[in-house]
């Protein structure tokens, strides 16, 4: 997910939230004591602040923050809401609304935002005594804890402390507490997996925590392999020991009360943890709360659930149940009872199996004896010192593998993406509903569509069989009719799924203003970046692969294209250069131009360098047109940079650009006018999921050739094939087309083809027309090309395999590689 996309989501959401705040504030003006309305306004303000924190918009975040603090103080009963406060709040949110509009248009806040916002912020904070710290209620993990957390009483020290830091360090901590006659606080922060998307940076909180004495950061589960690793899923658990006071911690972590657990530790508590039997955990507020949660789930299950929400409701109940059970010290094992009860419930469409499970667990009560439950949560076995693992730790380590991640609860959450939004966001009012969907879900959908296309393509074979083998022409015709219907639906379905995968190019363009700003500064050049056509959409795979090539191109433009200001002025150009990043949609492609008005590429220089590097001989160079010479910059090993700068010129730039663009089915060309600038044009397919291939027979085998390479199919009499320099060619409309015999090139058995006629598939590769000699042509087909696997993975002649409607597997030729194998110099 990209920040720009997130910003769009934020903007879409902000409108709704502001509406909610407005109506709420007006209602409060009439009745300041309306608690539900106040809560709603507060939540909306809180969400606004939280989401705005994700972007680099300090003025917006600060103003939202001030408004939220004021509302929070009102909510906490510390001050009562007055008419002037409501005026200020309304003014603040009006300003936010204006900023949002500006953000949507220009992606930045107005220049005077900081000033305006600060002025209002001061007014908002005035009733709070102007001190932001005074404006907060200490966040409590559980309400019941609020009054009981007095300092010094030896509440049981959480067992995870031992698991995280090991006995040795806990012992040292105890000695220090004894010595200093003081207490410390231990804090455990387990952010939800999606926290990055709501703008949280847990490490930032940790870094701001004062007086930290020990810190551990560990993943809550073993790291997934590099393939599964998702950098935007927060897997970390933070544990620290600090001398900061409880109220400091409560204030600092006030926005993540559900994710943080803070406990007071003193020497006695640590001794108990280290040496003695642990006190019964019956009074542990976490356990009490877990019990209440379970009871609440039972009520949810027993209530009437609207039919269309059964799945979501059951999934969320299962997730909560799992967390509650974990807190009870009964981590769900393998087999996962909750999951199977959920599966059964979903299968039956009835909450009963899940209800029974919850009832059973409630009756059984929390795990009373022994160290389990809350202590077992999420610390890392590797972290416990090798010598420091007490028996408890050992038991913990064993259980660890079975413990399902209480936060993850992935299967359940996936079942309902709406449910997945955490926090106040899901309480927001009606408005544009956006559904966040896992990318994997869409990919699966596309995969299924692909399979449907393949299955659909089987129908014509069936029709043919009905006609020919069973002599049932009417049946064959009806199958064909039906095929037409299925075909239309599957095409529409395919388009619909493709649309879901379409993303605007703004998602890749977003990073460039910053890049250009930083680069131009480090290069001492003045460059203005102009983005055009960011709304142009393309398949997400294309969007994703475009990032790196575009970075290379922009860097090249700035490093090699754009001249230093003095040079530009001397050349009669404005000192500031303009680089345009332009996207446009064509019927079957997305075209992206990177245009600069720099010095351009001089074909003579390119020729000289190419010769110097030994890329081409003098004769070859002489034969090149200027345009072809400029194209040499895409050759591997070509770099004209006189010095290696930190920006580009490592000699991997342009050839890597071409390689990745071509691999994605696109093309890249450069047009340059020396002294006036260059234009690099990328043409990318709109999507690369489903491709059209032309099927040909060669040496009794059928192969696919990507249709976009095929110009035409011709059958010419054998005598029209002539030899030019040992190369068979045909002359087609005054153009000489060299012929490549696929049978020979692919080393296939020679088939008994018609000796009188040659079938030629004319393709265009890298601008040149090449004829492929095949035995026969067949129809075109839509296929999903899968990469070659297993033994064939190294085969360069094929770009992949495709499953055909009749169940056979088609090898799809990589024409460029075939030509490269057939002979150089073409």
């Amino acid at each position: 997910m990209n920040l720009d996309t997130l910003l769009d989501q934020f903007l879409a959401e902000a409108g709704d939230l502001l509406d909610l705040v407005d109506t709420g504030l007006l209602a409060l003006e009439r009745d300041p004591g309306d608690r539900p309305v106040l809560d709603e306004v507060f939540r909306a303000a809180h969400t606004l602040k939280g989401s705005s924190g994700l972007f680099d918009l300090p003025a917006l975040t600060r103003l939202n923050h001030a408004a939220e603090d004021l509302l929070d103080a009102v909510r906490g009963g510390r001050i009562s809401l007055t008419a002037p406060m409501i005026d200020d709040l309304l003014a603040a949110f009006d300003l936010v609304r204006a900023w949002i509009a500006e953000l949507a248009r220009t992606r930045t806040l107005p220049l005077e935002a900081a000033q305006d916002g600060a002025a209002l912020g001061v007014r908002l904070r005035a009733p709070l005594g102007g001190d932001p710290v005074a404006a907060t209620v200490p966040g409590q993990r559980f309400p019941s804890e609020a009054s009981s957390g007095s300092r010094g009483t030896a509440a049981p020290v959480p067992g995870w402390l031992l698991a995280v830091f090991g006995a040795e360090r806990v012992g040292q901590l105890r000695d220090w507490l004894v010595h200093a006659r003081t207490t410390a606080r231990v804090l455990r922060l387990e952010p939800v997996e999606g926290c990055f998307f709501s703008g949280d940076d847990p490490l930032h909180l940790i870094a701001r925590t004062p007086a930290v004495e020990a810190l551990d950061i560990s993943p809550r589960a073993p790291w997934p392999g590099p393939e599964e690793f998702d950098e935007y899923r927060c897997l970390l658990v933070f544990t620290l020991v600090t001398r900061a006071t409880r109220s400091e911690l409560d204030h600092l972590y006030r926005y993540v009360p559900d994710e943080v657990e803070i406990a007071e530790v003193d020497a006695d508590g640590l001794s108990a943890l280290l040496d003695g039997p642990r006190p019964p955990a019956g009074d542990d507020p976490a356990r009490v709360a877990a019990g209440a949660l379970l009871a609440a789930q039972l009520q949810v299950l027993r209530a009437d659930i609207p039919a269309d929400q059964v799945g979501a409701r059951l999934s969320s109940v299962a997730a909560v149940t799992r967390s509650a059970l974990a807190a009870w010290g009964r981590p769900v094992g393998d087999p996962d009872e909750v999951a199977s009860a959920l599966a059964e419930s979903l299968h039956l469409g009835s909450p009963d199996p899940l209800t029974q499970l919850v009832e059973r667990e409630l009756a059984a009560g929390p795990e009373g004896a022994g160290p389990g439950g809350a202590e077992a949560e999420g610390a890392e076995p590797e972290v416990a010192g090798p010598d420091g693992v007490e028996p408890e730790g050992g038991a913990f380590v064993e259980r660890r593998g079975e413990r399902p991640d209480r936060r993850t609860g992935q299967p359940d959450l996936r079942a309902d993406p709406v449910e997945r939004r955490r926090g106040p966001a899901d309480r927001r009012g009606p408005g544009a509903r956006m559904l966040k969907v896992e990318q994997a879900t869409v990919d699966r959908l596309l995969d299924l569509v692909g399979q449907l296309v393949v299955a659909k393509n089987g129908l014509p074979f069936l029709a043919a069989a009905a006609e020919q083998e069973w002599n049932a022409r009417p049946l064959g015709r009806r199958i064909k009719d039906q095929y037409g219907v299925v075909n239309r639906i599957s095409e529409e379905l395919q388009t619909a799924v493709m649309d879901v995968r379409m993303l605007p190019l703004s998602t890749v363009f977003a990073r460039f203003p910053r890049l250009v700003r930083d680069l131009s500064r480090s290069l001492g050049k003045q460059v203005e970046l102009v983005l055009e056509g960011e709304d142009t959409a393309a398949d997400k795979d294309i969007i994703e692969m475009l990032g790196d090539p575009l970075v290379h191109l922009i860097r090249n433009a700035l490093d090699h294209g754009v001249e230093a200001p003095a040079v530009r002025v001397a050349a009669g150009k404005p000192a500031g250069a303009t680089v345009r990043l332009r996207a446009a949609q064509e019927p079957d492609a997305v075209v992206i131009d990177v245009v600069d008005d720099g010095r351009g590429v001089d074909p003579a220089t390119i020729r000289a360098v190419a010769y110097q590097r030994g890329l081409l001989t003098e004769e070859e160079l002489a034969a090149l047109s200027d345009e072809e010479a400029v194209d040499l910059i895409f050759r591997p090993g070509f770099s004209t940079a006189e010095r290696i700068s930190d920006v580009s010129g490592r000699g991997v730039g342009m050839d890597a650009v071409r390689a990745s663009v071509v691999a994605a089915g696109g093309s890249v060309r450069i047009v340059s006018t020396p002294g006036q600038g260059s234009r690099v044009r990328l043409r990318m397919p709109l999507s690369m999921a489903i491709s059209q291939v032309m099927i040909v027979t060669v040496g009794r085998q059928r192969f696919g050739v990507p249709v976009d390479l095929v110009i035409e199919t011709v059958r010419v009499p054998t005598e029209r094939v002539v030899q030019v320099e040992h190369q068979p060619v045909i002359v087609l409309r005054d153009t000489v087309v060299p012929l490549i015999d696929l049978v020979g090139t692919l080393q296939l058995p020679i088939a008994d083809a018609d000796p009188q006629v040659v079938s030629v598939l004319v393709t265009r590769v890298d601008g040149a027309e090449i004829g492929l000699v095949v035995d026969a042509f067949h129809e075109g087909a839509e296929v999903i090309v899968k990469p070659m696997e297993g033994l064939l993975a190294g085969s360069r002649s094929f770009c992949g395999t495709a499953l055909m409607g009749d169940g056979s597997v088609l090898l799809v030729l990589d024409v460029k590689e075939v030509l490269a194998g057939a002979g150089d110099g073409l």
Binding site: D56, Q172, W176, C195, D200, P202, L203, L215, L515
Partner: protein, 87 residues
């Protein structure tokens, strides 16, 4: 650019933000035996830290920013014992 690569070393400089985690992860994945320098880094977003913890690159440039130097560098050092508490 907070995330840059120079001769096989991933350089993290300035404030490494959430959207820098993606290029960082990619570099760590693509460069065999990646090395990383935190010397110029003033803040590491959690996502970036997580990418480092998961990939465990060799840290060739120790951070100078106090929090990173005190608490984060030891977590990234190979099998070093966790730092002892100090006053």
């Amino acid at each position: 650019m907070p995330v840059t690569v120079s001769s096989g070393v991933v350089l993290l400089t300035g404030v490494v933000r959430v959207d820098d985690a993606e290029p960082l992860t990619r570099h760590l994945r693509e460069i065999p035996h990646p090395k990383v320098s935190l010397t110029g880094c003033s803040h590491l977003h959690t996502a970036a830290l997580q990418a480092l913890l998961a990939a465990r690159p060799v840290v060739v440039g120790a951070p100078t920013e106090p929090f990173l130097a005190r608490w984060i560098a030891p977590l990234l050092s190979p099998r070093a014992d966790a730092p002892e508490e100090g006053r």
